[in-house]
Amino acid sequence: MLNKDLVVEISKSKKEPEWMLQIRLRALELFLKTPLPTWQIPSLKDLDFDSISYFNPQNIRATSWEELPSDLKRVYKKMGLPEAEQRWLGGTIAQYQSEGIYAKLKEEWQRKGVIFCSLDDAVKKYPELVRKHFANVVPVDDNKFTLLHYAVWSGGSFLYVPRGVEVNFPMQTYFFMKDKREGQFEHTIIIAEEGASVQYIEGCSAPVYDANSLHSAVVEVYAKDNSGVRYSTVQNWSKNVYNLNTKRAIIGKNALMEWVGGSLGAKVSMLYPSTVLAGEGACASHLTITLASKGTVKDGGAKVIHLAPHTRSTIISKSICIGDGHGVYRGLVKIAKGAYDSVSNARCDSLLIGRHAKSDTFPYSDIQETKGTSFTHEASAGRISEKQLEYMMSRGIREQDAMMLYVSGFITPVLKEIPLEYAIELNRFIQIEMEGSIG
């Protein structure tokens, strides 16, 4: 039951300071008063907020092989994942690296003054730092789902990189979330102080089963002057999940923000990572691969707001729709008054593989400053042409392999930016999904 008592209980069990409880309560109050949005394409009518379990530190996860849904088991088999790992993927996040390597890395980042821990811990250990940065990039009342989020958030990371520190190994979430992975309402804050740079990776390319069907996470990124942040994420939630996250970055002078993402799973997802280019010379790049498999609706896109002059943004969105999957791209590019000499380029391509696949593209542009600015957007939708397939087949390549070759080439511009271990699995997963629907 989603009510005040539940929220108080969550806060108490985490031993949170009073200011955090106040934020939660205010969010809950507004959430209960706010109606569901109506502009989106996927239907949210099946969401029953009261039946969702909001507070379960242990999680309702499959811990035995038998409990996993059969389509997942099939995919795991095809991906060649041993049963032990399958049970793991159906339950908790494990470690790719040994304890030893983890300990060494931890020592190094601590030496540099980097803080990387769960947000729950950070609220207690670094209250002032957290308080200053919490709910600023993504305000509590941003949308209906952030309201829910701020009322019941739990888990997530806090990553703080001090001035001038360049972290040259990627920070991955499983460093500390060894046994507990609460995907639902995670709140992540990444702060790169002036001149800092860091890469953050989270997610999983292989399908992950989650009995919890509503995910409403929030990610706030601060990339201050001359800093660089790359946020890479791949999600492959099981087909009962509604993935409705809000991710935003505010970046300063000459800062660089890169969002790299693969959205493979979930029944419905609505994701519009956004970057506010607040400082002169800032640059943002949004790269995504989206797979809309059978029975899913992927409503996603990018929002880029140029507030300062000499800023640059690039959006590349590649979407593949299989079966009756529905891919939607929603873009917003705004070049505000005063943001002269700013350039934005967007490219979104949809590959419709399934006979009943659908694609919608809504790229909105609002150009208020025209001095020296340039905005271009290109999009395409359709399938691999018969002629192209026949050509490849006339060179001895089987139809399935020809499709896969084409698709691999199609996603390459984004795939090459995704961390290698994720990329390999992602490619393999797409292959399996495609095999399931061709021929």
């Binding site: 542009s365 150009i367 271009t376 290109e378 359709g382 399938r383």
Partner: protein
């Protein structure tokens, strides 16, 4: 008030009230010129395998001016319309809709040289073997607002569509463009595209939303929009070759205009 004047054979066109009805019988080829001065409706019907070349100029001085045009094509008919808006109205509203039949062609060239506020709503329905071509040039007088909504609805397989826009926004101008290409499910062999190039000058504002809704996969669909001002580099380059600032913009504008006019001229080759 009658909508305006037309030249050409009265047997094909007539006024009913302030509505202009143009009826081209099957297999006939007709050229008509029209000048519109007052608000009204134009209803055009083309018989099977007929051809109509309609050249229209709007020179209205009405405060609020509205033209509603509808073209209904029969099998194998072709209609090429050019509409040049040069009126002095404070507010102009132009609605155009075309319904194609099998193997018919509709081409609409619109030149918006208005002042004040202009709202254009253009929609075409494309059937089997039919082709729809919409070319729009937005080159209004300073301080104007242009609101343009263009949609292409593919109703049957084997249909094709091309929408081309060129716009020049000057200081104080505002251009709002929304375009939609819709291909429902179950269609095959569809080729459809939409392209918009907007050259903007300091002090203008442009909003665009080109929508692509493709629900069949045997389709080649694409769209592209660019809203750009001459970049600082381009301006520096031109100036370094002795071209002053004002001329640089003029040259860019010329390029935009001439390439669009060329496209429009090509429609006459249909």
């Amino acid at each position: 008030m009658r909508i305006g004047y037309f030249t050409g054979k009265a047997e094909y066109a007539d006024f009913i009230g302030n509505e202009l009805l143009i009826n081209i019988p099957r297999d006939k080829q007709v050229i008509l010129t029209l000048i519109t001065l007052y608000s009204g409706r134009i209803r055009i019907k083309l018989g099977a395998n007929s051809r109509l070349l309609l050249s229209a100029i709007d020179m209205s001085k009405e405060e609020n001016h509205s033209i509603d045009m509808n073209v209904d094509l029969s099998k194998d008919a072709k209609c090429i319309t050019t509409f040049n808006f040069k009126g002095e109205s404070t507010e102009t509203k132009y609605t155009f809709s075309a319904n194609t039949a099998r193997n018919s062609h509709i081409a609409l060239n619109t030149i918006m040289g208005h002042q004040g506020k202009f709202t254009g709503v253009i929609s075409t329905k494309i059937r089997s073997g039919a082709h729809s071509l919409v070319n729009c040039l937005i080159a209004p007088l300073s301080g104007s607002t242009t609101n343009l909504n263009i949609s292409a609805d593919h109703m049957e397989s084997n249909s094709s569509n091309s929408i081309e826009l060129a716009g020049y926004a000057k200081k104080g101008d505002r251009i709002d463009f929304e375009g939609k290409i819709y291909v429902p499910k179950g269609l095959k062999d569809v080729e459809t595209r939409m392209n918009g190039r907007f050259l903007s000058v300091e002090g203008a504002s442009v909003h665009t939303l080109p929508i692509l809704s493709i629900y069949s996969r045997d389709v080649r669909a694409s769209h592209g929009i660019s809203v750009a001002n001459l970049s600082i580099d381009e301006l520096n380059y031109m100036q370094s070759r002795g071209i002053p600032l004002e001329d640089a913009y003029a040259i860019a504008e010329q390029g935009l205009l001439s390439s669009m006019l060329n496209k429009m001229a090509k429609t006459f080759e249909l």
